[in-house]
């Protein structure tokens, strides 16, 4: 059994089913992110693991113990909230010491641990400050230290960076990852930000409508999305509706033109949904061994270091980026161009 084992967990609120039959196994020391849009059930799943919500079905095991029916205070799970949730009448040191005092640790041990945690988050000089005297980023670091001070078995982070501005978000993101690596604590992180999920995690769990769509490393999730949802939610993606012409060679037809797919998932003829990352497409004359599609440029957006272009086949519209090059002439709107990409770049998505 994995360190955190979630088996057939579901949650219903009245008639609404928010989490459906979720199965997930997380190993000790892993950093896993639940990624999905608002309302996909990721926070509800996290809250069930924390013990703030009871599971309507299924079971949750932490370190081999069934915690499904345990209260939050019995689970030894550290939680960091989006809104920091620091106790406003306590100083930074008292906030960090809260869990240790409740556990009736000796005073000297508490003082030592608090000092250690404050050094870890580099806020020793703010020990006697109150939360309202700190910036958002500092408050969240204190919240992290408070959650970690009691040496929990599991660390849960519920969109901890969402309330911070962009620059601090990136810095704290790196800090959280470094801390997690240093302490080796099993961590479950919830976010709707794909960049956060991809940059932080050992594995990403993409959720949609209460279900897990795909679990994989950031590399797998980004490069080999299994469903149309994952493909569109993680990064920008072009969707091509195609019809199989020759299954053996992977020859398919898209808007009256033919391209080759390196690996077709399913056998048989018929309609297939293909995905193509914008960064895989280049402007090039047709080359042997590579796919080529003729398209008409509809839009040219100069974004500085890159230029984003939009081109239409017939029904299908493709977006792609090229690097800015002062020596290069950009295609004009309405001009016909050849778009090249390798056979491997065309991914067949699971039928929805």
């Amino acid at each position: 059994m994995a360190f955190l084992d979630i088996a057939h967990v579901g949650k219903t609120f009245g008639a609404a089913s928010v989490v459906n039959d979720v199965n997930l196994a997380i190993e000790k020391g892993e950093f896993v992110t639940l990624l999905g849009p608002s309302g996909c059930g990721k926070t509800t799943l996290l809250r069930m693991i924390a013990g703030f919500e009871s599971a309507s079905s299924g079971s949750i095991h932490i370190d081999g113990h069934d915690v499904t029916l345990q209260r939050a205070r019995q689970r030894r799970v550290g939680m960091v909230f989006q809104s920091y949730a620091l106790f406003p009448t306590m100083t930074v040191a008292d906030n960090i010491a809260y869990g240790l005092k409740i556990a009736r640790e000796p005073k000297s041990a508490i003082a030592e641990r608090v000092e250690q945690m404050m050094k870890l988050i580099r806020l020793s000089q703010h020990a006697q400050h109150y939360p309202w005297q700190l910036s958002g980023g500092q408050q969240q670091r204190v919240a992290l230290a408070r959650a970690l001070a009691s040496s929990p078995r599991l660390l849960l982070l519920d969109e901890p960076l969402s309330a911070l501005d962009a620059k601090i978000r990136v810095a704290l993101r790196d800090e959280i990852r470094a801390l997690q690596r240093k302490l080796g604590i099993t961590t479950l992180f919830v976010t709707h930000d794909q960049e956060e999920a991809l940059s932080l995690s050992d594995r990403v769990v993409v959720m949609n409508e209460g279900r897990i769509e795909q679990v994989g490393t950031p590399f797998e999730i980004y490069n080999f999305p299994r469903t149309r949802f994952v493909a569109s939610f993680v990064g920008t993606l072009n969707i091509l509706n195609s019809r199989v012409l020759d299954e053996a060679s992977g020859l398919v037809e898209v808007d009256g033109q033919t391209v080759t797919v390196a690996r077709l998932r399913r056998s048989g003829h018929g309609e297939r949904t293909l995905a193509l990352r914008p960064e895989a497409v280049v402007l090039e004359s047709p080359l042997a061994g590579r796919n080529s599609l003729m398209a008409t440029i509809e839009e040219v957006n100069f974004l500085g270091s890159v230029v984003r272009l939009r081109a239409r086949l017939q029904e299908t519209v493709l977006s792609f980026d090229i690097f800015n090059d002062p020596g290069q002439t950009l295609p004009q709107r309405g001009s016909r161009v050849a778009l090249g990409f390798s056979h491997d770049n065309l991914l067949e998505l699971e039928a929805s």
Partner: protein, 304 residues
């Protein structure tokens, strides 16, 4: 080409005309609060200054501390003590009952429609005082009041047989509670709404029980608001006169009634003692209000 005198005049013109704009705007802004300032000056500041001076004068206008000295003697001191007792009792009972009501509607899981209904009612009831309130209580809990008669006929309980009378200390406290409880509900509801669910969850996940949460998190957060609101309730009751006078006439010796007796112009009147009584009241209500403001500021700072 050298600038002509005319072009020079043109360049300086904008800076000359730009100056009166902001000044005019400032004047217009101030104009908006002139009625309030006039009102405050005529009906608050000048009378306060007048009575503060009068408290140190005898009937002939000579300086004396005799009137202030009277505050510590006999029935005047008794009046202050009764006023303080009535105010404290109505503030404490009002604060406890109001807090319980506000808690029930904010965190008690009651049906959603109860909350706006209670707050609207509280808004009305908190301002219901004076002769109408006294009349309402006489009609319901007076010796022949509707509720008294209903209790006698249907429950076999006669409140007056237990020694209760509306025209007494307890009767006055009960009447004051009619506006004290709603006032507490109005003041403390935002504070209760400010108790964040995440604090409870954070405490839980750190191993805390409900008792830990209340002692270490919720009560310290709520304390300034609850104490501050209680002080405001106290000041509110301490300054009330119309309700008490309409209800008890002069049978209950509280400061405001004693003060009224000094300035209404009958044979026993002593305006300078009235000013001294008022000065004593100003000191007490100011201390109470200052306490409220200080506690409110602390609460605001924590929320920011």
């Amino acid at each position: 080409m050298p600038p002509s005198p005319q072009s020079g005049a043109e360049t300086t013109l904008p800076s000359v005309t730009a100056v009166p704009g902001p000044r005019l705007a400032i004047r217009l802004d101030w104009l908006g609060i002139v009625p309030f300032m006039l009102f405050a000056l005529l009906f608050l500041l000048l009378p306060t200054a007048f009575l503060m001076v009068g408290a140190f004068q005898d009937a002939q206008g000579h300086f004396t501390l005799a009137k202030l000295g009277l505050l510590l003697q006999g029935n005047v001191l008794d009046a202050y003590l009764i006023s303080l007792e009535v105010s404290a009792a109505s503030a404490i009972v009002g604060a406890i009952a109001g807090f319980a009501l506000a808690w029930a509607v904010v965190h008690g899981g009651l049906p959603a429609w109860i909350r706006p209904s209670l707050l609207t009612f509280s808004g009305v009831a908190a301002n219901f005082a004076g002769v109408p309130l006294a009349f309402a209580f006489l009609c319901t809990l007076g010796r022949t009041g509707l509720v008294t008669l209903l209790l006698q006929h249907y429950a076999g309980i006669d409140p007056y047989s237990t020694g209760f009378t509306l025209l007494s200390f307890h009767g006055l406290v009960l009447t004051y509670l009619y506006f004290q409880i709603p006032l507490m509900v109005l003041i403390v509801t935002p504070a209760l709404e400010g108790l964040r669910k995440e604090w409870r969850e954070a405490s839980d996940s750190l191993g805390g029980t409900a008792l830990h949460y209340w002692i270490h998190v919720a009560l310290p957060v709520l304390a300034p608001s609850v104490l501050g609101a209680s002080l405001l309730l106290f000041a509110n009751a301490f300054g009330a006169v119309a309700t008490a006078y309409a209800l008890t006439g002069s049978s209950l010796n509280i400061v405001t009634i004693l003060l009224y007796a000094q300035i209404r112009g009958d044979v026993l009147h002593d305006p300078n003692l009235g000013y001294a009584l008022a000065l004593g009241m100003i000191v007490i209500t100011s201390l109470s209000s200052a306490g409220y403001l200080w506690l409110s500021a602390r609460t605001q700072r924590r929320r920011s």
